[in-house]
C-alpha cells in the first residue's frame, strides 16, 4: 500500500482513445465517474438558477399587489422554475449523478454496460439545457403555461412553447438512454455471486427507476411532440373546435408524469436505505420487503395518474378507481418507512450529517406523504385541488424527500467523489438552517391552501398576507442555508482533509476501494457470497480492500 495509487481524476478513457487536452479529457470521457461529475456541475448551476427564480416569486408575493414582477412575467417565472427543477434537476438528479457514479461501484463492475451511450446521454442532457436556455432569450420569451404544458393553452399561447417542449423531449431522450444503460448494467455486470437479493438497496431503487424511465418517458415524449405538431400543423387532436379533446392531453401527460414522481423518489428511497445501516451500524430491517416495495411502487405508480384529473371531468367510477389505487401506493411506501424506523430502533446511531438529513427527510416526507393521502380523498380533493395545499404537499415530497436525499447523498458520498472530507460542523449548521427554513417556507401553505389560496396566482387577498410573509422569511432562510451548504462542500474540495477509503464504516462495495476510486474501479472483482449490510459488533463484517487491490494481507 506504499505506492500512491492513481485515481480517475488522473487518468481516463475518452471516445477518441487518449487525449492530451484536459477539457476534452472531461467532456469526451466515457468513464462513468467523470460523467457523473459532469452531470452534477451542470445540474447544480441550474438548481441555483431555479432557486433564485423561486425566491424572486416569493419576494413578489411578500405583499399583496404587484411588486417586482408583472402578471405575465410571474406566469413565465413559475413555468421556468418548474421546468428547470423537474426536467433539468430532480428527474435526472439522483440517477444521473449518483446512479452513474455508484451503480457500477455498488455491484462490483468496472463501468456501465454502454459507456459511450452514457456519454451520449450527457450530451443530450446538455443539448436539452441549451435549447431550454435558447427559448428563454429568443422570440416572445419563455413559455407561460406551467411545467405541465396543458393544452389547449399551450397550443394557443404566444410564448415560446415549441422550444421549451423540444428541450423537454431531448431531456427525455437522455433519460431513456440512461435507463436502458442501467437496466442492462444491472442484468449483465453484477459481480459473480451477487444475485438480485444481494444487491444494495440503492441499486434496487435505480433498477425500478430505470424501468420507469424506459416505459413511461416515451409516452410523454410523443405527447409533447403531439403538442408541437398541433401548434405547427393544427391536426386538431387537442383542439375542441376540431373534435379534439384537451383532457386527452392531461391523461397522456400524467401517464408519464405520475410514474415520473416515483422515478424521482425511488432512488431517493434507495439513498435512505444505504445511509441508515451505515450510521445505525447494523443491518437494515426487512431487506426483501424494501427491495420488493420499490418494484411495487414502480408498478402501482403506473395506475394512478387519474388523480391529477379529479376536477377536469371524468366519470365518477373512474375517479373512485383512481382514488382507490392511489391509496394503494401508500402501502409499499409505508412498508419502507416502518422498515427504516425499525432499523433505527435500539441502534446506537452515529449522528453525522448524512444521517441528520435522513432523519430530517423521514419527518418531512412523512408529512408530504400523509398530505398526499388527504389530497387523494375524492371529496377533499375537490376543495383542495389547485390550492396552496397542493403546492405544499408537492414541495414536501419533492424538496423534502427527493432533494433532501440528494443533499444527503452529496454528503454521504462526498469522500468517495472528491477524496476529501467536508467540515462536519458547518455541514450540520447548513442542515439545520435548511430544515428550519424549509418548514417555515412550506408549512404555512397547508393552512393558506385549506383557506382557499389558489396556486399559480401572482396576487392574493389581504387576509393571506401573513402566510405569504412567513413563507417569504422561510424562503430566505432556506436559500441562505443551501448556499452555505454548497459553499461548505465546494470549499472542502480544496481545503478538506484527505478521506480514507471507508470513513463511515460502511459495508457496501464502493467503500472497499480507494477514495476517489481508480479508473475501472476494481482491480480484482470480488466474489460476493454475503448480503450487503452485514455488521458485526457495530463494524462491517467483510473487508475486501486488500483483496480487491491485490495486495497481501498484513497479518
Amino acid at each position: 500500500m506504499d505506492e500512491k495509487s492513481l485515481s480517475f481524476y488522473d487518468e481516463t478513457h475518452t471516445v477518441f482513445g487518449h487525449h492530451h487536452n484536459k477539457l476534452f479529457q472531461w467532456i469526451f470521457s466515457i468513464d462513468h465517474k467523470r460523467i457523473a461529475i459532469l452531470y452534477i456541475i451542470v445540474m447544480l448551476l441550474f438548481f441555483v438558477f431555479a432557486i433564485s427564480i423561486g425566491l424572486t416569486m416569493r419576494m413578489e408575493l411578500f405583499f399583496p399587489g404587484e411588486q417586482i414582477l408583472s402578471p405575465d412575467r410571474y406566469n413565465q417565472a413559475f413555468t421556468l422554475h418548474g421546468t428547470i427543477m423537474i426536467f433539468l434537476f430532480v428527474v435526472p438528479g439522483i440517477p444521473a449523478v449518483f446512479g452513474n457514479f455508484l451503480l457500477p461501484l455498488l455491484i462490483g463492475a468496472r463501468d456501465v454496460s454502454f459507456p459511450k451511450l452514457n456519454l451520449l446521454s450527457w450530451w443530450f442532457y446538455l443539448l436539452g439545457c441549451v435549447v431550454a436556455l435558447t427559448s428563454l432569450f429568443s422570440g416572445p420569451g419563455f413559455a407561460d403555461t406551467g411545467w405541465t404544458f396543458y393544452a389547449p393553452y399551450s397550443v394557443n399561447t404566444e410564448t415560446n412553447v415549441v422550444l421549451a417542449l423540444t428541450a423537454a423531449y431531448i431531456l427525455g431522450l437522455s433519460s431513456i438512454l440512461t435507463g436502458i444503460n442501467f437496466v442492462v448494467t444491472v442484468h449483465r455486470l453484477r459481480a459473480p455471486g451477487m444475485n438480485f437479493f444481494k444487491m444494495p438497496l440503492f441499486v434496487w431503487g435505480l433498477y425500478s427507476t430505470a424501468w420507469i424511465q424506459i416505459l413511461a418517458t416515451p409516452v410523454v415524449g410523443i405527447t409533447l411532440l403531439l403538442v408541437i405538431i398541433e401548434r405547427v400543423f393544427g391536426i386538431g387532436i387537442f383542439d375542441p373546435a376540431k373534435g379534439g379533446d384537451p383532457i386527452l392531453y392531461q391523461h397522456l401527460f400524467w401517464i408519464y408524469s405520475h410514474p415520473a414522481v416515483y422515478l424521482m423518489i425511488l432512488p431517493a428511497f434507495g439513498v435512505v436505505s444505504e445511509i441508515l445501516p451505515t450510521f445505525c451500524r447494523k443491518t437494515i430491517f426487512g431487506y426483501r420487503s424494501i427491495a420488493i416495495s420499490s418494484a411495487l411502487i414502480a408498478i402501482i405508480g403506473y395506475l394512478v395518474w387519474g388523480h391529477h384529473l379529479f376536477t377536469s371531468g371524468m366519470s365518477e367510477w373512474t375517479k373512485i378507481i383512481f382514488s382507490f389505487l392511489t391509496f394503494f401506493v401508500s402501502i409499499p411506501t409505508g412498508i419502507k418507512f416502518f422498515d427504516w424506523v425499525a432499523t433505527m430502533y435500539k441502534a446506537s446511531i452515529v449522528f453525522k450529517t448524512p444521517m441528520l438529513w435522513v432523519v430530517g427527510t423521514i419527518i418531512t416526507f412523512a408529512i408530504g406523504g400523509l398530505t398526499g393521502i388527504t389530497l387523494v380523498t375524492l371529496g377533499v380533493n375537490i376543495h383542495l385541488h389547485d390550492t396552496y395545499f397542493v403546492v405544499a404537499h408537492f414541495h414536501y415530497t419533492i424538496f423534502g424527500g427527493v432533494v433532501f436525499m440528494l443533499f444527503a447523498a452529496m454528503h454521504y458520498w462526498y469522500p468517495k467523489f472528491i477524496g476529501k472530507m467536508y467540515d462536519e460542523v458547518k455541514a450540520k449548521i447548513a442542515f439545520y438552517l435548511i430544515f428550519i427554513g424549509f418548514n417555515t417556507l412550506w408549512f404555512p401553505m397547508f393552512f393558506a391552501g385549506v383557506l382557499g389560496m389558489p396556486r399559480r396566482y401572482f396576487d392574493y387577498l389581504p387576509e393571506f398576507t401573513i402566510y405569504h410573509q412567513i413563507a417569504g422569511v422561510g424562503a430566505i432562510i432556506t436559500v441562505s442555508g443551501i448556499l452555505f451548504m454548497l459553499y461548505t462542500l465546494i470549499s472542502a474540495v480544496k481545503n478538506g482533509e484527505k478521506a480514507p477509503a471507508n470513513p463511515w464504516n460502511s459495508s457496501t462495495l464502493e467503500w472497499q476501494i480507494d477514495s476517489p476510486p481508480p479508473l475501472e474501479n476494481f482491480k480484482n472483482i470480488p466474489y460476493i457470497d454475503f448480503e450487503p449490510y452485514e455488521y458485526e459488533n457495530g463494524a462491517p463484517k467483510h473487508n475486501l480492500y486488500n483483496k480487491i487491490k491485490g495486495v497481501k494481507d498484513g497479518n
Binding site: 455486470l189 459473480p192 400543423f233 466474489y527
Partner: protein, 220 residues
C-alpha cells in the same frame, strides 16, 4: 478487437466464475436494443391509444374518411415492406454464413424496397394534398370533426412511421459501411442483428397502421 480469454475469479469452494467484459458483451447489446424497442412500442402505443380513443368516439366519420384513401397503394406498400423484411432476414443469415457478398446484396435490396415504400407514400400524400386535404387546410376544416381527426392522425402517424423508414435506410447504409470496414463480420454481427430487429418493428407498426387507416373504410 482481439479475443482474450475471459477473466476468471474463484469462490470459496474454488469454483471458477467468469467476469463479463463490458466492452465486448453480445448479450448486453441485444438486451439494450430490445429495451430500446420497448420505448418505440410505447411511443407508437401512445399514438395508437389516441387513435383508438377517437375511433371509439366517432366510428362513422372515421369510416367515411378512410374510404378516400387508396387501399391499393396501401396494400402494395404492405407487401413491399413485408418483402423487405424478408430480404433483411436473408441478409443476416448470409452474413452469419460468412457469405459477405450476398449479405451486402440483400441489404441493398432492402434499401431499394424501403425507397420504393417512401416513393409510394409520397404519391399517396401528394394525391391527398392535391385534393386540398392536409392538416389545417380550409377544405379539411369544413368537414366533420371525425374526418379532421382521422386525417390529422393519418398524417402524424404515417409521418412518424416514414421518419422511422428513413432512419432505417440510414442505419442500413451505416451497416454496409461497417461491413466494408470489417467492423461487422460473420462472428461479430450484433449490429446487423439489431438493425434487422429494428426493421421488423418498423414493418410491424405498418401492419397495424394499414388496417386502421385503410381497411376500416371497406366496412359499413
Amino acid at each position: 478487437m482481439e479475443t482474450k480469454s475471459p477473466e476468471l475469479i474463484y469462490d470459496k469452494d474454488g469454483k471458477a466464475h467468469e467476469i463479463v467484459d463490458f466492452n465486448n458483451d453480445y448479450t448486453a447489446s441485444k438486451l439494450g436494443f430490445w429495451l430500446f424497442l420497448f420505448t418505440e412500442l410505447m411511443l407508437f402505443g401512445a399514438m395508437f391509444l389516441v387513435f383508438a380513443f377517437f375511433f371509439y368516439k366517432m366510428p362513422q366519420e372515421f369510416v367515411i374518411a378512410s374510404k378516400s384513401l387508396n387501399i391499393y397503394l396501401g396494400a402494395i406498400n404492405t407487401f413491399v415492406l413485408l418483402l423487405s423484411t424478408y430480404y433483411m432476414g436473408i441478409a443476416f443469415i448470409y452474413l452469419k454464413d460468412n457469405n459477405i457478398l450476398k449479405a451486402k446484396k440483400h441489404i441493398l435490396f432492402t434499401i431499394a424496397l424501403a425507397f420504393l415504400f417512401l416513393l409510394i407514400k409520397y404519391i399517396e400524400w401528394s394525391i391527398e394534398i392535391n385534393h386540398g386535404i392536409y392538416p389545417d387546410s380550409s377544405l379539411l376544416n369544413e368537414k366533420a370533426n371525425g374526418e379532421i381527426l382521422f386525417f390529422g392522425l393519418y398524417f402524424t402517424m404515417t409521418g412518424f412511421h416514414g421518419i422511422h423508414i428513413i432512419a432505417g435506410i440510414l442505419l442500413m447504409i451505416w451497416v454496409l459501411f461497417l461491413i466494408k470496414t470489417k467492423k461487422i463480420t460473420s462472428t461479430k454481427y450484433v449490429i446487423l442483428e439489431n438493425v434487422s430487429l429494428y426493421w421488423d418493428l418498423v414493418h410491424l407498426v405498418w401492419v397495424f397502421l394499414f388496417p386502421l387507416f385503410y381497411i376500416i373504410g371497406l366496412g359499413g
